[in-house]
Subunit: 252 residues, 2 copies
């Protein structure tokens, strides 16, 4: 960079080496990915993150790490306790239920809007997404279905045409992914889920906004009830007996 080589080459501007990428943002993305990757609810104890160790590992200073941490904390993925450490958050059962409740609110509105405004092509695509899982094929491929399940829900959010609706549910999905992978194996939830999904698709195809909304809401609230009843394992191994008994999550 010392010699500002005055090449007369007219359109050789570097391909945006800098713009858009920032150590802080990359650290944020990396940490978020890492947190999502590990199934939080398997680990027996709280996972602690060390700023200095991370900065050393990623080869950057603490500053961008701290910035990333700030974001992650606000999103509810991490909780920093002064002079103690930064810990990956393990949501309580109650918090999970609340998140699912909010999801239900967002998804039911999305379903309503999708019924009114989504293109026929999009709805057809939604059906195609689910066609790989006919309503009697459960048992096998449950893990595959777990992903398809999330894809289905996200597709509806997106089809609402309301970017904010999809955006706000994004973080909720991340927290719920781990939960879904567990609950999907319980009861007969996979099969029920598939049935529900097809009903929702039919409502969308018939452009029945009210029905689509109701079905989406009941579908997700059903999951909330399920967790409410069978999700006690979430609160089980909570080694941190700090205060903060029922603080809400995902926001300041």
């Amino acid at each position: 960079m010392a010699e500002a080589s005055p090449q007369p080459s007219p359109t050789l501007d570097v391909p945006r080496l800098d713009t858009g990428s920032t150590f802080a943002k990359e650290a944020y993305a990396a940490l978020k990915r890492a947190i999502c990757a590990m199934d939080i609810y398997d680990h027996p104890d709280e996972i602690r993150l060390d700023e200095r160790r991370l900065s050393e590992g990623l080869g950057v200073s603490r500053t961008p790490i701290r910035e990333a941490m700030t974001l992650l904390e606000q999103e509810g993925f991490v909780r920093t306790r002064p002079r103690r450490g930064i810990f990956v958050v393990r949501k309580s059962k109650r918090e999970i239920v609340e998140m699912i409740t909010v999801m239900a609110a967002l998804e039911s509105m999305a379903a309503r809007l999708a019924a009114e405004r989504a293109s026929g092509a999009d709805i057809a695509g939604l059906r195609r997404l689910m066609d790989d899982f006919p309503s009697g094929n459960e048992g096998a491929r449950l893990d595959d279905y777990s992903d398809a399940n999330i894809a289905f829900h996200q597709a509806i959010l997106k089809m609402s045409g309301c970017a904010l609706l999809a955006g706000m549910s994004e973080n909720l999905f991340i927290h719920m992914r781990a939960i879904r992978k567990i609950t999907i194996h319980q009861d007969n939830r996979a099969a029920r889920s598939i049935v529900d999904h097809f009903r929702i698709i039919e409502a969308l195809e018939r452009r029945d906004a009210a029905l689509a909304e109701r079905l989406a809401r009941e579908h997700t609230l059903g999951l909330a009830r399920h967790v409410e009843r069978h999700g006690d394992f979430l609160d089980a191994a909570a080694p941190l007996a700090d205060v903060v008994p029922a603080e809400a999550g995902t926001h300041r």
Copy 2:
């Protein structure tokens, strides 16, 4: 602090001088308050925030300021463009409509839950809140009502018993406050709003969850439609012709 005076006084621990307060958090609160105070949509041009000037003004270094900025940016109150500056965000009409749509989703779910679970006392309190504005008294005290209006909506969110529901709508309220102060004067919206509110209260009193939900949704979606039709002034004086035409807000 040099002499660790071994006073035998048993319960004289300092009243939490440090814990809970942090320059970064205080700066965040101060900036957020400042941003909310100024009616963004009056100012003709984008408002720029200077890290160094702010740090000088608040008497702290840039570090906590930057942390606050990171939060504010994620919440959609501020947008930082590298080497350009940090600007207070002025939401586009479309973004406002999307926010109101999300509000409708959250509020309708909250109304449903409130009808099912809120205490009679809370519902009575809600009615009391609105009793100051009988359905024919509009005209005067519109500004007062603007606040009462917001209080009403927040009360329902709170009565849902779902802290996350209330929490996620918090930032949306801030963005919408300025809008409401304008729209309340248009049409006959104040009077209509009061009527709607009383209908919602009645539904809650009758514990009619489905009705409360529907009324809350239609009430807020009505505002969305109103802004959709009459909110073009929001996009009017947009001096920054940057890219980012319809980026969503309030999330990364």
